[in-house]
Amino acid sequence: MGYDMELTALILLPFFGGIAALFAGRFGRDAERWVSIAALALALVILILAFLTPGDGRWIAFERFDWAPSLGMQVILAMDGLSGALLVVSLALGIVSVIVSWKITEHSGLLNAALLWTVAASNGVFLSFDLLVFAFFWELMLVPAFLLISVWGHGDREAAALKFLVFNAVAGLGLLAAVFYLGASGEVVTFDAFEVAERDIPHGVQVLLLLGFAAAFLVKLPVPPLHAWLPDAHTQAPTAGSILLAGLLLKTGAYGLFRFPPMLFPEGFATLAPWGMVLGAFGSIYGALLACGQTDAKRLVAYTSVAHMSIVLMGICGGVYFSLMGAGVEMVAHAFSASALFLLIGALYDRTGTRDLRELGGLQQSAPRFAAAFAVFFSAALAMPGTANFLGEALVITGMFQVNWIFASITLISLVVSVVYATRLFKRVVFGKARRSGVVEDLTAREMGPIVLLAIATLLFGMLPQLLMGALEGAVTAALAPVAGP
Amino acid sequence: MSGLLALWCAAVALACAVLAVTRPVIVHALIWLVAALLSLAACFFALGASFAGAVQVLIYAGAIVAVFVFVVMSVDTSAEARGRERERLATGWRRPAAAVILVAVPLVAGLGVGGPALVAPQGTAQGSLGALLFGPWALAIEVASGLLLAALMGARHLGRRGAGE
C-alpha cells in the first residue's frame, strides 16, 4: 500500500478542527459548532473511504514515517477492523457530543476545541503502533478531558477533575516506564511495536512490563478497585464529557488491553490472564451491586460502566475466540448505549435540574418520546437480545464456559443484577408520578438526532452482528494467535 | 614675631569660632563668625599669604556673610525661639562633643605624636600664585568653576518661587 495520509488526517483533522473552533466563534453565531461538526464529519468520510479501499489483509491502512530516527522514534499508524470500529465510535460520539453541548455558551470555542482534541487524542491511541507515540497520545487524552470536567462540570468539579487526572496520570507512569524499558532494552533503540513484539523477553520481565501496561489500562478501563475516579468524573462532567468519557476514554483502556499485552508479552499475558479474569468477575458483580445502590442517575450509569467494562476485561483475559470477540463487540456496544444513557440523563438534568432518582419520575406521562428513548437504552443496558450489548455479553459468557464455568456463572449473575438496577432506573425515572420534576418537556429534534443515531447503531449491530464481527475478526485472531500458538 | 602674631590671631579665631557655634541667637553667631573669619584673615597676613588674607576678607567676611545677613533677616528672633535654641543646645551637646573628641583626639595626636619630620622651611613664597593657578592647576580651577556654575544654577533653581510647590 502506498504512502497515504488518511490515518494522519484522522488524527490531525480533529486537532486542527479544534484549533479552528477555538477562534471560529467570532465569525458568526454557532460557527465553532459547525466547524467542529464539519471537521468530524470530514474525518468520518475519510475513514469510510479508507474502509472502502482494499487493504493488505491484516491492515486496512498502514502509514509509517520517521520522526527522530536517531532516537528510534517514528510514527507508525495502522488501522484494522478493531481500530476502525472504535474510530467510527469516536468520530460519531464526537459529533454527538458537539450537538449535545449546543446550548452551552460559556467558553463555547474552548469547549468544542476540548471535545475535538479528546477525539483527536483517542484516535491517536487507536491508531499508533509506535509505543512512544502511543504513550504520548495516551497522556495527551487526559488534558482536554480534564478541561471538560473542570470548566464545564457540575458540583464539585475541580475535585472530580483532579481525581480523574491523578488516577490516570499516575497509572500512565507505569505505561511510560514499561515503554521506555522496551524501547531501550533492545540492540537498537526502537519503539516500533512490531519490532518489539519479535524480541525474546524473559518471562519475569514480561510479567513486570505487563503490570506496567496493565496499570494504565486497568485504571482507564476501569476495573475495581481502581475505578474510584469514574463515578465522580462522570457525575460532575458535563453531558458531552460523560459521553466522551464513557464512549472513548474507557474504550482506550479496553483497546490497549486487547491489542498490546497479547502482542508484546504473550507468555506474561498467559500468566496474568487468570488474575485479570478474577478482577473482571469481581468487578462485574461489584459494579452492578453498587449501581443498584445509587440515587444519582449518572452515578448509577457510571457504575454500570464499571460492571460492563469488567466483563470486557474478563473477555479479553479469557483468551479464547468467543470471549475476545465478545469483548470487542461489548466495547463498541457499550460505547453507544452508555453514551446514550448519559445523553438522556443530561437532557433530563437540563430540564429538571436534578439527577436524584428520588425526585424524578413520571416521564411516561409527560414525555412519551423521552420514555421510549429510555426504554431502548434501558434494554441495551440490561443486555436484551437484539441489542449489541447482548451479543457481546453472550459471546463473553460462551467463551467463559470454555475457560472456566465459574466465571461464566458470575457473568450470568451480573446479567441478572443488571435487570435490578436497570429496572430501578427505569422505574424511578419513567414510571411513577413526577415527584419534583413536574411536567418535563419532551425531547427536541436536536436531541432526537443523536439518540436515533445511537439507537440505530445499538440495534443494527445487535441484529446484524456480522457487520461488527467481520471487522473485528482480524484483531481477534491476532490477539488469539500468540496465546494459542506454539 | 610674625609667627607669634599668627598664633595669636589663630587662637582668637578659634575662640570666636567656639562662640559662633554656641550662640543661641543667629545674629550673634553670625557676628562671631565674621570675627573668626577676620581673625583668620589677620593670621594669613601674618603668615605672609597676603592674597589669601585679602580674598578671605573680601569673599568670606564680605560676600558670604553678606548673603547670610540677607537670609538672617527673615529668621524668627523672638524670645521663645531663642529659648528653644538654648534649650536644644543645653540638652543635645554631649553626644556631638563626644564625637568631636573622638575625631579630634586621633587627629591631634596623629599630628603631634610621631608625626613626620617637618622639612626645613625654605624661606618666603617663590614664584607667582597666578602662574601656578593658571598653569599646572588650570584643570582644578576649571573644575572648581564648573562647581560654582552648578551651584549658581542650583541656587537659581531652588530660589525660583513655586519650584517646590
Binding site: - | A13, A104, L107, L111, L158
Partner: protein, 102 residues
C-alpha cells in the same frame, strides 16, 4: 617661622575644624549648621596657608582658593535650600526633615 609654630597652627586649625564639626552636630537650626560648615572649611584653610607659609610655596594659597570656591558654592546652595525649605514647609529644624528615611 619654626616647626613648633607650624604645629601649634595646625593644632589650631584642627580646633577650628572640630569646633565647626561640633556645631554641625550639636545645632539643629539649619542656619547654625551652615555657619558651622563655614568654620569647618575655615580650619583646613588655615592648615593649608600655614603649611604653605612653612614650606614657602604658592600651593597653600592655591588650595585655599579652591576651598574658597567650595565654600562659596556650598553657601549659595545651602542658603537656597534653606529658603526653599522655609517657603515650602516652614522648616528651620534640620531634624524634622526625615523624608530620606522613607
Amino acid at each position: 617661622m619654626n616647626a613648633a609654630t607650624l604645629s601649634i597652627l595646625l593644632l589650631l586649625s584642627a580646633g577650628l575644624f572640630a569646633t565647626g564639626f561640633f556645631g554641625l552636630l550639636a545645632r539643629r537650626a539649619i542656619l547654625f549648621q551652615l555657619i558651622s560648615l563655614e568654620l569647618m572649611l575655615a580650619g583646613p584653610a588655615l592648615g593649608f596657608i600655614a603649611g604653605g607659609a612653612y614650606h614657602g610655596g604658592q600651593t597653600g594659597q592655591a588650595m585655599f582658593v579652591l576651598i574658597l570656591i567650595l565654600a562659596a558654592a556650598e553657601v549659595a546652595l545651602g542658603l537656597a535650600l534653606y529658603l526653599a525649605l522655609r517657603r515650602v514647609a516652614d522648616v528651620e529644624d534640620a531634624d524634622t526633615i526625615t523624608r530620606l528615611r522613607h
